[in-house]
Symmetry: C2
Subunit: 356 residues, 2 copies
């Protein structure tokens, strides 16, 4: 990912662009439409695997309870499948052309959540026990592997299969790199030459979150017959979207309204997470004081105030806005169908811009 000069366009300009849309698109409706389109093929893919493993997969998608009884739990927003469908539509193809790609990226996303929850020891996701907590670590490892294998199988069988699998494999490598760096960040000190720099964090977020979002949109475009420049532009847009989303998530993790985020106030500070605002603040002369506060049992409100004083909050806002602008620039860089492009922008608004 390279930041072009247009990536630094001020957010005000981006808002002006959005305000020219006469009929604002409802992102929730877009997500619902794409979920409905992709769901049958996603279910069919999960049903291809071993029934026991398939139950764990279905549980992770919110389709069933432990034991297999039907459920209607939240299986996530389905952003990746929507990006794939809109990628195809933006290239002038029917959304159904993207379905194998949409299925593959949702499967890969579910696989990575499943394995990441094991690595991070997270016991709950979307208000339910995580798969490893509900079924055991070994079975959860296997269920993740199955989802991964189903994703590869689905894409390999698609038209444009070879190029599609290559796109996916790049994202898979990036996912591993991002998760490896994220795990290693926890072992590094707050200050000194071994500290985590904001640019390392940006690379981690691009790999861990952006790569699969970019792959989703790019796969949709590829399966929709788009030229390489369009595929690349959508990949780039998704990568910037991922970084922006991650940094906004970091901002909400410190200063978000618990009533909106559903997370405790200052939660990320209590958990001593190395998030963008913290790392940016640690890159200033206030680093020593902040590190001492983060390590102490002091009220995390004090640390939050110091991060703000050190400019960590505004640096994160600037960073997020820069990547939102880069998404806009990438979308403006290539010819896209107007309607689907607006729907893509509605997802961008939904995911990050309303919080900036």
């Amino acid at each position: 990912m390279t930041a072009s000069s247009s990536a630094l366009r001020a957010p005000a300009d981006a808002h002006r662009r959005a305000s020219t849309v006469r009929f604002p698109v409802d992102a929730g409706q877009v997500l619902d439409r794409c979920r409905t389109l992709v769901r049958p093929a996603l279910r069919e893919a999960v049903e291809r695997t071993h029934p026991w493993v398939g139950e764990m997969a279905a549980y992770s998608f919110g389709w069933c309870e432990v034991g297999g009884a039907p459920a209607a739990a939240s299986g996530g927003k389905g952003v990746r499948q929507a990006l794939a469908v809109l990628g195809a539509e933006a290239a002038g193809a029917p959304g159904r052309a993207a379905v194998p790609g949409a299925v593959a990226v949702e499967l890969v996303h579910a696989f990575s959540l499943l394995h990441d929850d094991i690595m991070d020891g997270d016991e709950a996701r979307r208000r339910r026990p995580t798969v490893w907590k509900a079924y055991g670590t070994g079975p959860a490892v296997l269920a993740g592997d199955a989802l991964f294998a189903l994703a590869v199988e689905t894409l390999a069988a698609a038209p444009q299969g070879p190029r599609a699998v290559r796109l996916l494999s790049v994202a898979l490598q990036d996912l591993v790199r991002g998760q490896a760096d994220d795990l290693l960040f926890t072992t590094r000190p707050w200050t000194g030459p071994e500290r985590v720099r904001p640019d390392e964090y940006r690379t981690m977020a691009e790999h861990k979150t952006g790569a699969l979002l970019g792959c989703a949109a790019a796969l949709g475009a590829l399966l929709g017959g788009a030229p390489p420049a369009t595929v690349d532009a959508l990949d780039r847009a998704g990568r910037h979207l991922g970084i922006a989303f991650q940094v906004v998530d970091d901002l909400l993790g410190i200063w978000g309204d618990p009533a909106v985020t559903g997370k405790p106030v200052h939660g990320d500070l209590r958990e001593r997470k190395k998030t963008y605002p913290v790392l940016a603040a640690l890159d200033t002369p206030l680093a020593g004081r902040l590190a001492a506060l983060l390590e102490s049992a002091a009220d995390p409100g004090e640390a939050a105030a110091l991060i703000e004083e050190a400019g960590g909050r505004s640096a994160a806002l600037t960073e997020a806005r820069r990547h939102v602008a880069a998404v806009e620039a990438a979308l403006a860089d290539v010819p896209l169908q107007k309607g689907p492009a607006e729907e893509l922008r509605s997802l961008l608004d939904f995911l990050v811009r309303r919080d900036l």
Copy 2:
């Protein structure tokens, strides 16, 4: 896999065939030659991933110690890479044509060992701590994922990529199915309608061990430009080889000489493993007595004697010989280059037949 009538050919016939080879091929030399051919590309693939994850992968291949210092530990025999190389050569192509396939199957094999060791709680492999024991469960999950992703990436970039990835994805699905059944077998009773039948065990072994061996040989043939009938025949040969290997391993796990196997005598009985000889014996009127013995703290030698009395040992021998004959039949079914075909047969001898 379907058992053809030729799959039931008596082993005596197979031995007569082997005895017509004037210059017996040394399987160790074949494995060494293929390992030397594939090693540089395998190392290059592992070096493409995150350095920390790459170290875990290199450790699992026996190339380094924890921390990265060079080592020359046993990384396994490399049977899968050899099958791929010989598959290409048997199709008349140079062995190097198979290298992407050979790398992919070795990566997938390493991935599956790594994750299986987590699921099975195994703490040692090839006289060293397993990756999860040495690096932690979370990192080992990630290292397995990385190996999996590298395998897909390697194959997707190869000529014949699309068909090659489809072949691999079939094997991956089978690996998951086999491991799922193997895990579930441990929870099922020794007797009664819920017991594990020998034919279920055979399917599990084909999936867990045979699918990747078949995929290896088939991928080599495919990358070597072989016609579909040859690719299919080699896939079938590898699947039968996997079942035969597994059943022979089961026989050695009960009656093998500890000085040869490096495993304790009756080890599989002490661990209450549901192996082929046990399951065959449980399919007889002696099932009740045997189940009681297996569950008791009695000398496992008694159980071994009862399994033999019930015909479990001879049933397993018959089963293994049947699949060895099926390998021979599959290899005889299609035109193959004489030298590489003999080398393939030397691997068969090396892996299973010397023990029958």
